[in-house]
Structures are given as C-alpha cells and as structure tokens.
Symmetry: C2
Subunit: 399 residues, 2 copies
C-alpha cells in the first residue's frame, strides 16, 4: 500500500490589550496594532452592539474621528454598523447573512479587518462570519462585557446556534487581536456586571486557589457596579488563566474529550435553553458551578468547609443557586426538559466519552467519565433547600 | 498599556493512501486508519456522489458488508447517503443544510467521522459542513476524480459558493485521512479523465521540469481512458508536489498574498463562471495556463521554444486553448463579463496585493504584482489564432 504523509505546524499568536477609552484621540493602543506603513492599504469595518452604541452615544463618531486623525490605520470603508447583541444574533442566521453581505459589498478581503465590538454573543457570530468568508478575514475583538473580556472574547472559538442547539456551528480561529476597554463596563446593567464574574469563579476553582481567595474576600466589592479596581484585577487574572489553559494545555482546538474550562457548564447550557435565555450565561454558570461543587462534596471529593465557602461566595456575589428549571424534571432524566438531557447534549457537542470536571479542592479540578444521576438529584434538592434557607438567613452554617 | 500575549502551535498530520477497490473485503486499507480497539466507539456516515453510485452499483452494498466484516470500524449509523456531485452542490446551500441535518439527527460528534466520496465539489461542500458542525468533525476524503485525487481532495481547503462567487465561504481544515482509490477513475467520462490532468501540468510547470517532461512524453497515453499506469504515476507525483508545497512553503493556511498553486487560475475561475460551468475546472485551468504561459513568453520571460512546447503539450492532451468567453469582452476590461474582471475577483478573494504567477522557464515559476492588460489582450488574440490554426494543422511551428 503506497502512501504519502502530510505534516506541518502552524504558529498562532495574538495580543490582548487592556485599556480605557480606546477611541479617545490620545489613546494610541489602536494605532499600535497595525503596521506604520503599507504597500497596500487594507480595509476595516466595524460591527457594534446596538445597545453599546446607545450607552456610548459618541462612540461611532469617536471612531470616525480617530480614523481621520491617524493615517497608519486601515481604510474605514463604512460608518460603524449597528447590530443587536445577545443570543438572538446567534439564533437567527439572517444576521450572519447580513455580515456576509457587507463583506461582499465592501470587498473585504483576507488581509482586511473586521472589528466586533460588543458582548460574547455578538463576537461569536461576527467571529464565525470572519472565519468563514474568504476562508478567514482578520478579526479584531473589542469585548464590552465582563464575561467577554475575561473569557469568551479572548479565546479561539466562535459559533452560532443552529437547530436550537447552542454553538452547533462554529470554528476554532484565533483572532488577530483582542482589546479589552474597561470603560465599556461602566454602562453595563448591574446584572451583566455580576454575571461575568461566574467564569472567574469557575477558573479560580479549578486552577488557582489564591484567585478564589481574592474573589471570596472581595465578593461584596466585586458585586457593586462600578467598583473598577477589583473588577480590573479580576478580569486580568481570569483572562490570564484562560489564555494559559488554551495555549499551554496542548489542545487549543479541543481534539480530545477533555474540556476543563467547561466546569459547571453542562447544566448551564441547558438552563439557558430551558429558561429561553431569560437568565444570563454567567447566571447559569453560577448555578452550574453550585451544582457540580455540591456533587463533588457529596461524592466525598470536596470538604464540607470548602463546599460551604464556595456556595457562600457565589451567593455573596448576588447569584441565585437554584431556579425552578433546575429541579422541574430532574426526577425524570429522559424528559426533554430535564436538566440531565444537558449531559447528553454536552457529550454530543464535545464528542467522545462523557467527561465532567469536578473539584478535589479549591484550585484543583478533577475529571470523571461517569456520573451518578441519583446523587445529582440529591444535589438539586440540596441546592433548592439551601436557596430557600438563604432567603431567610444568608448564613450557610445554619443549613 | 497592559497586555498579555497568547501564543501556541498546532501540529497537523494526515496520510494519503493510494489503493484500488477500497471496499473489497480483502482490502485492509480502510481498517488501518482506525484504532484496533475503542473505549468509546465513534460513529461514521458516508456521503456519496450519486453519479459514482450509479457507475459503481455495488458500492453502497460493499461498504455495508465491509462494516459487517471488520469490527474495529466505527459504527455505520446509516446506509451511505447519496448527493449530487458537481458545482450545484456548492451553489445551493440547501445541500449544506441537509448535511447539517443528518449530522444533528444521527448525533455525529467531534470524535466521529464523516466520509465524502466523490469529486472535488462534493468534497469541498462536505468538508465545509464537517469543519463547522460542532466546530469540526473528522473528515475522510475519498476523491473519485483525477482532479480531486491529485489536487483538491488532498489539501487543507474546503468551501461553498455564495453570492455567485466561487469558494466565497470556507475554512482551512486538514482532513483526518485521504484515500485515493484508482478504481473510481475507470468509470470517469473521457472529459473528466482528461480535465484532471490540467492541475498536474500546472504544478509541473512551476515546480518540476522532469514531471513536465513526463507529461509531454506521455501526453497521448495520458489522454486515453483508461490507461492506468501513466495516470497513476501522474496522480502520485502531482499529489506529492501539492502536498510538499502546502506543508513546506510555510503558509499552509494562506496568510500571505502569494498563492503559486493558483498558476493559471485567475482566468480559469472566471471562465467557469462565464460559461456557467459548461466547462470543467480542469478545462478552464488548461486555458488559464495557456494564457499565462503566453503572457510569460510575450514579456520575454519564457523562451519561444518552451512556450511552443507547453502549448503543444496542452493541445496534445486534448484541451482547447481558447473558447469565445475568453475573448468576448477582453477589449473592455471593466465589463462584468470580461475575463479581466477575474483579476480583481482573484485579488479580492486572496486579499492583499495582486499576485500572479508566471513562468521563467519550465519547472520554475515567478510571481509578479502587476499585469499589463494590453499585453494580455494580445495574448488572447494569439491564443484564438493559435487555436484556429490548430484545427487546420496541429503543428505549432506553422503559426
């Protein structure tokens, strides 16, 4: 049998900048990501979350002025374009098609740039469009939420939802550059300010005890908008932990079954769907973490003290630990609306064998390939009870 | 300005097997691409070109029997599915959607396999579906045409057409494995047998004089279906040259402006569109090569002797060197149906500055960043004339 082997290596590299007021004329960050001169001037186009443009009324004008001032920038081929943020932009493929149409109309090529400015959902959809048009246009992400700045916006994934399944279509495509502008956080709704902290809790729990201690100690400061200093620290460290994992775990494009950064996510994805996205991704993740932490405790992996500490911290940050959709069909795991359907869907999306991250101790995750639904059902009851008590008395020790 | 840097490397590797009668029970090739045992048995599903299944009536039955015999194979979750081949499958996104639906219905995951068996267009569309569903399902390509076996089916690209633009959407995603089964060539139409040789002429001209000499000497043998021995040699060497270029040129995912393997292709893509795909890709490439070779000669890069040798070889293989669509609007470069519109579209797709491959000598390409339309107009006239004379007298020396 004759054969040939194809073998090559691709190096990926991109910077993540942290700044404030990116398009103020004195801020040079944006000018530094492009060459100082060009042989062939590339194009650039902005897609901006409509809500962000409302909260920052001068933003689009600022961008246009910025491009007038600095002449090493690519050619701004259109006024910044406004599109909705949130899950709707991933659910309805018409938005994706609109982005393709704009790419086609303005002859945006592989050496040109698409900028997505908004939350994680908008960035996911724009990223998918940029990755697939002409087999890849350079993507600049400017995440505007806590969640996107510390997690989804800095990684290598993009996606849209299809067949009512979250992220059914997508690619692994590193961005050209990411710019976290903290100023955008100052106009977040309180709910979104808090929601994004969940991914920091997650990565702290599985990777970094000191970081968890920081979150625990600063829980009340962190939950108050717009207390910038602890939030900036949280975002920077959370981004750093996510980047380290993606870049150094040896599986940036998720070829294996393991996905430790999805700690707490199997139920979270399902909860988002079951609530028809009434709850934020971060809010769902907080409940998902509470569930898997409780499961880790009941299995005897995690100490009672650590379990209580984690649940208290989540609650102190203002998260719910239980919503009815978690328990509604929990006794009937095969019911379409049962939370446990999320386990199979999680496995289907990742493929391979079921792999769930649990906690051995704070700062140290541990993967398992089997789960005991009966124990999980007890966990759900426990969380419901804990949540009720919490409304009467916020002290976990009384439960 | 605070910043972090993300940096990682991804290694890609895949084998290209050459065999005959892949699904005959005694052929072990297919069993060797999978592990001998599994912890978790993955799934597999076949998408087969309808025309191939007509020409090879026992193929689907053979595949099912093969899966019954060998138990290390993944689980065949459905009878092989038949879809059309040819450009229609890339033009109409309904086919892509059907593939997504089947992936969803059968719960095909990232660790499962999708097999595309057919020509380049089918493989391109199936590859795009496989690359984007769940952010990437493992793809097995079984190319059935000369063109797909020696070029498109062995590389890292996939695509569909959109906005009437060839390959407007796509990704760079290496396959899991490629299997070239020469037996499929024996049922190709004569036209397709010949058409696929064009990419071998192309890569020989820019990379390997000895290979061009082989094609020149064997032109009459190569054009005769189904003279297998010279064709096998041609496919193997052509595949090897393409793989070497992709793997060793340092730009497998085409980040730069240079794309030497697209020698002769700027006009070829436009000719396919202008003829509404009446001509085959390879037939268009043969004309595109003739055009750029003539341009190289008129610029004084290529000797008259080499120019004549190349045009004779192309003609001896049975290709046309001119069709009316090449000349129709050549005097009016801005006309939508002018061949020269193809230059801008080529640049738009690749991005960056215009980069066209020409020939310095046989076996040695040379890139330029500017073209002289007036000289190209003369080339087109010359090809028209040459083509007319050829019909009267196949001897180039008389032109």
């Amino acid at each position: 049998m004759k054969f040939l082997t194809q073998k090559f290596t691709v190096n990926f590299e991109y910077p993540i900048f942290f700044t404030e007021n990116l398009f103020e004329k004195t801020n040079l960050t944006f000018t530094k990501i492009f060459p100082q001169t060009y042989e062939f001037k590339p194009k650039i186009i902005f897609f901006i979350d409509y809500e962000v443009s409302i909260a920052h009324t001068i933003l689009t004008q600022q961008i246009e002025s910025y491009f007038q001032k600095y002449n090493n920038l690519p050619e701004l081929v259109s006024k910044p374009l406004l599109i909705p943020g949130g899950e709707i932009v991933k659910n309805n493929t018409e938005y994706l098609k609109q982005v393709y149409e704009i790419i086609e109309r303005h002859k945006i090529c592989r050496h040109s740039y698409i900028v997505g400015l908004g939350g994680g959902a908008l960035l996911d959809m724009i990223g998918f469009a940029a990755s697939t048009a002409h087999r890849g246009i350079k993507l600049i992400r400017i995440p505007t939420t806590v969640l996107a700045q510390n997690d989804s916006g800095i990684g290598v994934k993009n996606a849209i939802n299809f067949f009512h399944k979250k992220n059914f279509l997508g690619c692994f495509t590193p961005p050209f550059v990411v710019i976290n502008d903290f100023n955008f956080l100052k106009t977040l709704k309180k709910r979104d300010w808090i929601a994004g902290i969940a991914e920091a809790i997650k990565v702290a729990l599985i990777k970094d005890k000191d970081f968890f201690d920081f979150i625990e100690k600063n829980a009340f400061a962190l939950k108050s908008p717009y207390n910038m200093e602890p939030m900036k620290k949280l975002i920077y460290r959370c981004a750093e932990l996510h980047l380290n994992h993606i870049g150094k775990s040896g599986d940036p494009f998720e070829k294996g079954s393991s996905r430790p950064l999805d700690f707490g996510h199997w139920s979270a994805h399902k909860l988002e769907y079951l609530t028809t996205y009434r709850i934020r991704h971060g809010e769902a993740v907080a409940i998902g973490i509470a569930l898997d932490v409780t499961y880790s405790y009941l299995l005897g992996l995690l100490s009672k003290k650590d379990w209580q500490k984690i649940l208290n911290t989540i609650a102190n940050l203002g998260y719910k630990l239980y919503i009815p959709e978690l328990g509604n069909f929990a006794q009937n795991p095969d019911h379409n609306q049962s939370i446990f359907k999320g386990l199979y869907e999680f496995q289907e999306h990742l493929g391979g064998k079921l792999t769930i991250m649990l906690l051995k101790e704070i700062g140290c995750g541990m993967e398992v390939n089997e789960v005991n639904i009966k124990v999980y059902q007890i966990c759900i009851k426990k969380l419901e009870l804990f949540s009720k008590k919490l409304n009467e008395d916020t002290n976990l020790q009384t439960v």
